[in-house]
């Protein structure tokens, strides 16, 4: 695990010269490289998330290394593609654990893959930070080494719904969700539970499948029930089409979406139809928090327009770095986990971040509305 960057046999004068021009002279001699594995879906159906997660991770590693927050330690990201399958997700995990000897793993993009791969990390006592898994069961309950940054829909939707209820005072709702995907199915259950708890009757429920592009039949059927609000649990690739087609049908009902809507691609692809759509979200992109503004500026400098998955992946690395710092160690697997036990109110683009006692993430969530082609916070 400890690699010395410079070979011991290097001429002393040359090494000294290097140290002088180096920005971090202290680190140049005995820098410990701490590897962090990231199992991302860069091909297959979830490729759209893997790409933005990769950007977030690389940026965070660069920022942490430059900040000097971890003296004598250099983070290094090892990124592998799990092809959106559990078969390759498991293979990547075993590689990270046994071959790359990583100190921590940023969990696989998809919840389904995580439920198959995370038990291996738990058994090998390698801390995992899930940055996009939102399934309520089967992730952090695997064991004490599995941690999560991404809020589950259960932590976001009920609060968002209560805020909207106060604002719009709707009487009955309709639900529309992707039923062939673990993320959107879990989101639906939360929405239904929140409506039931608030005593709001559900006029009707319809579903779609992830490959679908045409939703007009379902939307027409729901429109006929004339609900006061439409709640949608969909991934980013479906969200824009759903909203655009609802408006195309001349249906102007208020729409609220979950985490999947929180992406610049949603506004771009839905165009004017996105106006007025509410989004319950784990990451408040328009937050004026210094940490968030710095993150946005940093990503802009790298040519990336970040979405929530990018911000969460970035936070995943910050959390691991903080874990190492708090442990006071050199970044071993145990160090990372011991640090997590102490981690509290870490400044991140997501807001002040802490872990719950069940190792799930905890940070403020918000409700946004699309106005003038931008996400804006609902007061």
């Amino acid at each position: 695990m400890r690699n010395h960057r410079l070979a011991p046999g290097l001429p002393r004068t040359f090494a000294a010269g290097l140290a002088l021009v180096s920005l971090w002279p202290a680190g140049a001699f005995a820098e410990t490289v701490v590897k962090i594995g990231a199992a991302l879906s860069m091909t297959g159906p979830a490729a759209v998330y893997g790409a933005t997660q990769k950007a977030g991770i690389l940026a965070a590693v660069e920022d942490v290394n430059r900040s000097g927050k971890l003296p004598g330690i250099k983070l290094e990201a090892v990124i592998e593609d799990d092809a959106s399958t559990k078969e390759q997700g498991i293979a990547v995990y075993q590689r990270f654990i046994n071959r790359d000897k990583v100190s921590a793993i940023i969990g696989p993009t998809l919840s389904n893959t995580a439920t198959a791969a995370d038990p291996l990390a738990q058994a090998a006592k390698v801390p995992v930070v899930a940055v996009s898994n939102t399934a309520p069961v089967g992730i952090t309950d695997i064991g004490t080494y599995i941690w999560r940054v991404s809020l589950t829909e259960g932590q976001v939707i009920p609060g968002a719904l209560a805020r909207l209820k106060a604002k719009l005072s709707f009487k009955k709702a309709a639900l529309f969700y992707g039923n062939d995907d673990a993320f959107t199915q879990a989101g639906y259950k939360v929405m239904k539970g929140a409506l039931d708890a608030a005593g709001i009757p559900i006029a009707g429920t319809q579903t779609f499948a992830k490959p679908d592009k045409d939703y007009s039949a379902q939307l027409t059927a729901l429109k006929a029930l004339s609900p006061d609000i439409l709640l949608v649990s969909a991934l980013a690739e479906n969200a824009a089409g759903i909203v655009a087609q609802a408006r195309q049908l001349g249906w102007n009902v208020p729409i609220m979406g979950g985490n999947g809507f929180n992406s610049p691609a949603f506004i771009k692809n839905a165009g004017p139809a996105a106006e007025g759509v509410y989004v319950g979200t784990a990451w408040n992109k328009v937050s004026t928090d210094a940490a968030n503004q710095a993150f946005l500026a940093g990503m802009k400098g790298r040519g990336v327009d970040p979405d929530q998955f990018c911000a969460q992946a970035y936070t995943g690395i910050l959390v691991i770095a903080e874990g190492i710092r708090l442990s006071g160690g050199k970044g071993s697997r145990e160090d990372v986990r011991n640090g997590f036990l102490k981690l509290k109110n870490l400044t991140t683009p997501l807001g002040p971040f802490s872990f719950t006692k069940d190792r799930d993430g905890e940070h403020p969530s918000s409700v946004q509305i699309v106005r003038d082609g931008k996400f804006q916070i609902v007061p």
Binding site: T43, P45, G50, T205, Q206, A217, A240, Q248, A270, P272
Partner: protein, 292 residues
Amino acid sequence: MGQQIINGLFLGSIYALFALGYTLVFGVLDILNLAHAAIFMLATFAALALVTTFHFPIFLALPAAVLFAGLVGIVLERVAFRPLRSRADSNISGLISSLAVATILEAVALEVWGPNISRFPIGTLSDARVAIPGGVVSRLQLTIIAVAVVMFLALTWLLTRTRIGREVRAVAESPRAARVLGVNVDRVIASTFFLSSALGGAAGVLFGLAFNSISPDMGRSVELKGLAVIILGGMGSMPGAVLAGFLLGLTEVFVVAHLGASWRDAVSFAGLFLILVLRPQGLLGAAGAREA
């Protein structure tokens, strides 16, 4: 209900468009070309690039992309099908080689354009709404249905009234007999792939315009449905593919409205299964061809 019928007809026209090219190759060569969906996608990206990068109007970008798709089809035939044609198991090995090409094309698209969903710029085609009895329809949708009908008529004309059409049908009947009659079978098959892929490309561009959702895996949403449509319509039958496309579209919409969308695909595939078992020749196919 009026709105649902419009929805069904529109969805049906998309299925029919995709299936026309699919069934053409199937009818002539008895081969499933699993790369059809990839060409559908590639043509859409080509049109998108023309519109956004080179500022082509869509009415020029569409034919250009269609031509491009046709040429890709010729290459596809050369690379993935012709070398296998003499093999006894060409229908299985062709399935796999076309799958390999599809994988490569999808990977290339993923590398070049990235995994994100793209769309044609807003206003590429007017999506103004037109009120009709019982619902609304957009000009865009009407355009797409019209293009589907025109392409079907043009294809029918081509196949029944022109020399190349007669040759295509002769090869479909029996390549050996066609060769004896002096038909250049290689050229005819290449033309078939050109036509089939061009149609697939047109379907892709129209699909991209209709749903504003262009991505390297966009073909997946129609791949299996297209298969259902060509079976339902009868092997290699153009009118069958069109009829079956509309029938599938309407059935799906009906299921959504009355049973709920979660059963839509299960009903579609169960229906496909039943049709195959009860009427293996499809709606408009010739009897006897599919049973052992």
